[in-house]
Amino acid sequence: MVQIENGPSDDNGADRPLSYADLVRWFVIVGLVALGVAVAIAIKETLLLFAIAFLIAMVLNPGVALLERRGLKRGLAVALLIVVLFAILALVVFLVVPPFFEQIQQLIEQIPGEWNRLYEQIQGWIKTYPVLQQALPSRAGDMLNTVTGQVGGIANFLLRSTLNLANGILIALLCLLVVIFTLIEPEPITTAYLELVPPRYREPAFRSLARMMHQVSAWARGVVINGVATGASTAFYSRWSESNPRSYSAFSLFWVNSYQSSDRSLLPFPLSSWRRVWVLVNSFSRFSRSCLCNKLKPICSSLLSWESR
């Protein structure tokens, strides 16, 4: 009689048949995982907000640790850091916002001239492509009426945008609150993270978090250095080349500024040619895609039916 020898059975019971208790245990595990995934999907915005807050806290933590090593209490160090950040933000707003509103005002003043220029441009296209004559209204006033007919939609859009802006400001403030609380007392959060990891993975989890914090800090340092160097050099070059005091807002008005003449441009010389190419391509693609293909056709059909009446 031939006997088949089984291999050495392991101590974890991998060779033994599945028992009723194992089945129940696996059902419970699968159920808990499914529940966890469902909850995570339901609160995904909250998870994203906290992920961003923890990322910002990781970025700011080396600064707080540095101040703490210099003898400041942790709470005071966090307060000092937040005040410094807000001061920098206020300085940027102070330099960028006034020219922004000034240019918006200029843009509003230029709209009638731009409207005539656009209408002349369309007339030029009609001469080149006569088939467009059927699709376009005959007078500038008709086109203006069509546009003003969309004012309700624009107002609705502006209202929704304002509500979204208020919501965004509220969420940003809550995110700041989470960052402050995390920075003031980070140890319980880190302890909970390390506790929840199974013991055999704790050391890799600890090292992963340390490396992530290191990488995020390095990334933030790079972004700050790059931003300061680019902004300062652009502003300096702009002032030097055009003697324009508004050059601080070099990156703020890429689109709006394209409507202005070059002697009043906020963008410095090296960017202005690329800016014009970009504006030209983008304007044409936007106009052809959204206006000619989608919007203009039903509008013109309604206008033609109105004219026939």
């Binding site: 609160i43 933590n61 980070p186 959060i189 302890t191 506790e195």
Partner: protein
């Protein structure tokens, strides 16, 4: 039992997303219950104590880790 401020804020968001206004009322009890359940059913059977990882957490918070 100590509940961290970030825990309370997280549960405020999560409970309001899941259960609306009723969830907002139950934020603190829910946070405490979850903490107790994790402690009793996950940490205690595995003999995981906060003191064993507190040192590592302190090192991370103070930025004292040298990356090789």
């Amino acid at each position: 039992m100590k509940l961290h401020a970030v825990t309370i804020i997280f549960f405020t968001f999560a409970m309001s997303s899941l259960f609306g206004f009723l969830g907002l009322i139950l934020v603190v009890p829910a946070a405490a219950m979850v903490k107790i359940l994790i402690s009793e059913f996950y940490l205690r059977p595995r003999r995981i104590w906060s003191e064993s990882v507190a040192g590592q957490a302190r090192e991370l918070a103070r930025g004292q880790i040298k990356i090789e």
